[in-house]
Symmetry: C2
């Protein structure tokens, strides 16, 4: 087992390099000169969206799948940028011919989120009004905003309705936002290792990371783009994240109490244990590929995520969706434990919506969503085929376009309204 997190070029991918089933790919850019009006009220313009696509859009345009990345991911989900690349894209095990998201069947899209630092506009981008990086003058963005930018990209690609939006962790939250915010544009939603809202504990871990970054004097209130970056703070933030991505079981199996490069305790304050060395390495490596301000903005966006906010309940919020849902959780994930998926499932079933749920037994903790491709692939493949068959009229108990599910949802909503009114 390795221990990646959302979107990083993980040792797992590099240690056992896949050729990148989709071959050589490149990151493209979409310019949105008018930008977007954000949930917080500000207008951000212009916006650049970095994205990649794999496979081919079908003539009927009913085979497009959008993959949403997690906290530290990017648009490079699959394949190689150059033949000599040591690492394939962050979700390469899942995307390609015959894989869970089969590029012989589906047209797969992945874009970097708004607020990120991998090609899409974020706090490190140049503010055209000043000619300098935004830094903290970048407006706070939400998952709703990220999804709105993706919607523009999807429209640009000529797609009115996606076969599926899929993602793990923050990617799963985006998939849920898609289903609720753009009900007519999503036939199905695969929400993996995620939750309907960020829990206070998960907020607390993010806040530790933000405090560590802001306590680093190099951070200079976000104005560090000329000068040293707040690497020490970002590294601590990343270390915290890594602990939350692993299960206690996985850490025990991976490190135990083994010492690093020594047989006996050093009786000094330096690193003694492998687990310490591993975390420091992960923290350091992260500073070479991620922007500290993006870390602040993206964690904030996740913390704001609460699907039921503004609605009467989580179920009421989800009732807007017309998608079929596949929820997946992992037995040892304590960051977004199975109970959080069950809460979503309960709300969907209460509404009479089409929802499948699968808990996968895994010791890998939250990281499992990037690692358990062998066990996840059959479930994902079957689900996508069913949704596609249904949409394209191939039949699935006689239902077309999910109407049966929807009308049941309508009935239940009525009943719920009576009960609480």
């Amino acid at each position: 087992m390795s221990s990646p997190d959302p979107g990083r070029t993980s040792p797992a991918v590099c240690a056992a390099p896949r050729s990148g089933g989709v071959g050589l790919v490149e990151t493209l850019s979409l310019e949105l000169p008018d930008g977007l009006e954000l949930e917080g009220g500000a207008r951000l313009a212009p916006i650049t969206v970095a994205y990649e696509t794999y496979g081919r859009l079908a003539p009927d345009r009913r085979n497009a799948v959008l993959i949403c990345h997690a906290l530290s991911g990017d648009a490079h989900a699959a394949g190689l940028h150059a033949a000599e690349d040591r690492c394939a894209g962050w979700f390469d095990d899942f995307i390609g011919p015959g894989r869970a998201f089969d590029t012989d069947r589906w047209f797969v899209i992945c874009s970097n989120v708004l607020g990120g630092c991998k090609g899409t506009t974020g706090p490190a981008s140049i503010d055209p009004r000043t000619g300098l990086p935004y830094g903290l003058s970048f407006p706070v963005v939400t998952l709703r905003d990220m999804v709105a930018a993706q919607r523009r990209l999807v429209a640009h690609l000529g797609i009115d309705r996606l076969l599926a939006v899929a993602g793990g962790s923050m990617g799963g939250m985006q998939a849920l936002r898609w289903a609720v915010d753009h009900p007519d544009a999503v036939a199905s939603c695969l929400a993996i290792a995620t939750a309907g809202r960020q829990s206070p504990r998960a907020i607390a871990f993010h806040e530790i990371g933000r405090q560590a970054i802001q306590a680093d004097p190099a951070w200079r209130k976000g104005d560090y783009y000329v000068g040293p970056a707040p690497d020490a703070g970002l590294s601590v933030a990343r270390m915290v994240g890594h602990i939350t991505y692993l299960s206690e079981e996985a850490m025990q199996a991976k490190f135990g109490r083994r010492l690093q490069d020594k047989a006996e305790f050093g009786y000094e304050l330096a690193t003694d244990f492998e687990v310490e060395s591993y975390l420091r390495h992960q923290g350091d490596a992260f500073t070479r590929r991620f922007d500290a301000n993006s870390y602040l903005y993206i964690t904030k966006a996740i913390d704001y995520f609460d699907l039921g906010r503004g609605a009467r309940s989580l179920a009421a919020a989800l009732a807007r969706a017309r998608a079929s849902f596949l929820l997946m959780s992992f037995s040892s994930d304590w960051l977004y434990p199975t109970a959080h998926s069950r809460e979503l499932l309960r709300a969907l079933l209460l509404n009479g919506q089409d929802a499948s749920f699968c808990e996968i037994d895994s010791a890998a903790g939250h990281d499992a969503f990037l690692l358990e491709h062998e066990r996840m692939a059959p479930v994902i493949r079957g689900f996508l085929e069913r949704v596609h068959r249904r949409w394209t009229g191939g039949g699935d108990g006689g239902e077309g376009d999910g109407e049966g599910g929807e009308s049941l949802a309508q009935r239940r909503r009525g009943a719920e309204g009576e009960g609480s009114g």
Copy 2:
């Protein structure tokens, strides 16, 4: 529920102030001019040990109970230092007439650990060779060393054998060390919310805290005693600790996703959620009462703790002990989960040792060991009475001095030796 951790003057104690059943107390000091030879090889001298006592030592000296504090605790476990004190000692709910550690029955002792910053010699103490604070020239100390210093204190008080050594978290680890390192000096061991060794995940959380402190430029490699202290780093370290002391359930109940002093999201990077505000407050408050270098040294001592290290197994290490054991864990404690107590229990039972175990159902997480006094008190009281009765010949199935238990342990050890030899 409140959310204290080992030894802090918690809001719980202060919000519902107890008169301090033991009344006015003062912290005393024992000087050890020759100091100690430490596990790491260095000699530390002189050593001052800060301590308090409550109740009276019986003429037969068989009623002494040593309480060991956790990471951030001190010698002031019970009572008040001044009549106007807002807060009683950190374990006041448990110590006093009629409480779990009944001062009408027992003579209770608590001392600050070696390496601490509350009166016992630690990195902030003056090094007599230089006339300056030790800082990082302070030698690394272990729980074995802390216990060795306590042993000197106990001898100074005229006690050859303790009725009990008790503690939660790091305090429980000290109690276990006492039982193994000084088998003839301990009649019983109460190891609460603890483990036989520090887990890699718990090491990892400590390492985050140490990294945060060391990343603070004010830390200056520990040489900050003239000048600003590394408060930002220490505050982050403390915030991490607090998350590990609370259960997800407790955080949900205590904070949920409630906003701090606002009705709507601020759409800014500032604090939005109560849980963030709470953690920042806890972090800040901690910097006013704790020394950052002590935090480094004490967390390191905990991380080194591994009872089985140097022995064939955990059971082989525990077989040296002649004490009766009471292990207590809490259902929602994920820092030292019940499985860790069960591992200790299994080893003790394998040896045929006298061991009781009790898991208390509580939503309070690791903090429960400071909060669940009503449920814990009857168990602790009954255990102490049994051990005392046994030792003083009051009878307990005819066994005197635990010899029966010991001989069974000897037999089992023999059998185990045959099996593996």
